[in-house]
């Protein structure tokens, strides 16, 4: 583990930055973060030297591919402190992971059983649960405080005896607010319900500990933590995964197959039908390995300082409305806002002309936007490799945009 942190040094690990001719202020990290050099290298090497299908052959390439793929599981397990690598299921992304849990668990629930989500959820942690309504599952939506944080006080009344699962975001992709997981877990445990955390936004900000969090399922995506697209992770407690029916069906997840029936391999293979995203798993693992070398206290200090600059700078702009907590609630270094009557798309367009990449839209969180009474917002999201110049460029760009659009 290296100590200390210098964003200029870390940028050297991200080929994106050295490939730019002109400076470009990438502040759309919450959508997709730039890829770490370790993933470029590991994936290239794997496809060059170890490319084969996994778990089904015993020539040397198949051996190496399988070993690489299973080692990737171990790395992921270490990154999130899972008890065992067999608790790691590779999926196509966070969305696929949550769909898996919803379909698998949902098929075992009875009409009248309940799932609790919050109104702050990304569509990917809302729609899979909504779909269960067709089977008589009741969806209960946790209300929000004015600033978009979960109204954890309402948990106790909302989580009733029929509640099977509470599925909430670990950190909001719109407000950045970090969920009070302990409160959620405590309330769920009261009735024996499980807890799924949508970690899509959280993973970019360092290793975590699912056992300490006390949840039952955790989902995230490679492309948001400096890894490749096309891969995600579902972590689940081994005892639960082993009891859950499969979701996707196909090669590799079975025991014995007859024309009209089949039985299933143990988890995690049971949930990985077909050829998995092998190269992408290898790439993701390489990145997570690299991230585990960092001094995360120093990274967090850097991110917190930048966040401070960002929030203060934004709030100093006349007509700017920040969506999200400003009272010291734990939050990721991102900020969603609206500026006077200017439309987010127009703002983003002018900012791009200034070399600043931010995102405008509903951020796949329409119910949360409705809570704020807006259709869309601009979001600037910082990652470890950003520095003060990025925040300055954004703030200057907003001043410029206001002139251009006036």
């Amino acid at each position: 583990m290296k100590t200390g942190f210098d964003p200029r040094m870390v940028r050297q690990d991200f080929p994106f930055f050295s490939s730019r001719e002109q400076p470009y202020h990438y502040l759309d990290n919450a959508a997709t973060a730039q890829m770490h050099a370790a993933a470029f290298e590991a994936m290239h090497r794997h496809d060059l030297e170890n490319r084969a299908n996994v778990m089904r052959g015993n020539h040397r390439l198949a051996e190496r591919a399988t070993t690489a793929y299973e080692s990737a599981r171990q790395v992921v397990a270490r990154f999130i402190n899972a008890a065992h690598a067999s608790e790691i299921v590779f999926t196509g992304g966070t969305t696929a992971a949550i769909n898996l849990v919803a379909a698998s668990l949902g098929s075992q629930w009875k009409p009248g059983d309940e799932v609790v989500v919050s109104q702050a959820e990304h569509h990917s942690n809302l729609l899979p649960w909504q779909a269960l309504q067709a089977r008589g599952i009741v969806l209960r939506v946790l209300p929000l405080q004015v600033d978009g944080c979960l109204e954890t006080e309402a948990l106790a009344t909302l989580i009733g005896p029929r509640c099977k699962l509470v599925a909430v975001t670990h950190a909001s992709n719109v407000t950045g607010a970090v969920t009070d997981v302990a409160a959620v877990v405590a309330a769920a445990r009261q009735v024996g319900a499980w807890v799924l955390l949508d970690g899509a936004q959280r993973v970019q900000h360092g290793p975590l500990d699912v056992q300490a969090l006390g949840c039952d399922f955790y989902a995230f995506s490679g492309h948001k933590c400096f890894g490749p697209s096309g891969i995600g992770v579902l972590w689940g407690q081994a005892a639960w995964l082993d009891r859950m029916p499969p979701f996707l069906r196909g090669g590799g997840m079975v025991g014995r197959v007859e024309p009209d029936q089949a039985d299933w391999a143990p988890a995690p293979r049971r949930f990985e039908a077909g050829t998995p995203p092998i190269t992408q798993a290898v790439g993701l693992a390489a990145v997570l390995e690299a991230l585990m070398q960092w001094d995360w206290d120093a990274v967090h200090a850097h991110e917190a300082a930048l966040q401070q600059l960002l929030l203060q700078g934004l709030q100093a702009l006349p007509g700017l409305r920040l969506l999200g907590p400003v009272d010291g609630t734990a939050r990721l270094p991102l900020a969603s806002f609206s500026l006077a009557e200017l439309h987010p798309h127009d703002l983003c367009q002018v900012l791009d002309g200034q070399g600043v990449a931010v995102r405008g839209g509903h951020h796949c969180a329409q119910p949360l936007m409705a809570h704020f009474g807006v259709e869309a917002s601009v979001r600037a999201s910082l990652a470890c490799y950003n520095d003060r110049s990025d925040v300055d460029a954004l703030l200057a760009g907003l001043v410029h945009a206001r002139e251009v659009l006036a």
């Binding site: 439309h343 798309h345 127009d346 367009q349 002018v350 791009d352 936007m369 259709e375 869309a376 659009l405």
Partner: protein, 143 residues
């Protein structure tokens, strides 16, 4: 380069909001969303002999979307379905094809040329036209 998009003429056009408002008893109407940002356009029309005789639109959108709706408000009266389609096709060609159309049915369509390099904005510009075409179809269905 994106600043060129926001030249004064297009901002003026958006602000003029030609045709903004609701109709009492439309012959046809349509409501369309832009799924990226929640923008929403409502178009209401009455027709006479196939031509659009009155038009009102309610547009929540970005500058480009509002300018496009306003352009419709300025030119659509007296046009039939073919005329609107022609304008829409010229606009689409101007946005997406390497060569601009030989002639522009409505001269201010040229204001959208700077949006050519930005495919993600084409939907903003085209939304009011798609909504109007849907309203025309609705009035056909009601007829």
């Amino acid at each position: 380069m994106s600043d060129a998009l926001y030249q004064q003429a297009i901002k003026n056009l958006a602000r003029a909001a030609h045709g903004a408002g609701r109709l009492e008893i439309p012959d046809g109407s349509a409501l369309r969303d832009n799924p990226l940002c929640g923008d929403r356009v409502r178009m209401e029309i009455t027709r006479h002999d196939g031509m659009i005789s009155t038009l009102g639109h309610d547009t929540r959108g970005c500058l480009l979307c509002r300018a496009s709706a306003s352009l419709i408000g300025r030119h659509a009266i007296g046009q039939d379905q073919a005329g609107i389609q022609a304008a829409q096709q010229a606009l689409e060609q101007l946005l997406t094809q390497p060569d601009p159309p030989a002639a522009l049915p409505w001269p201010e369509l040229a204001l959208f040329v700077p949006a050519h390099p930005f495919p993600s904005r084409h939907g903003c510009v085209l939304l009011p036209f798609q909504t109007l075409l849907a309203a025309l179809k609705d009035s056909d269905d009601n007829a």
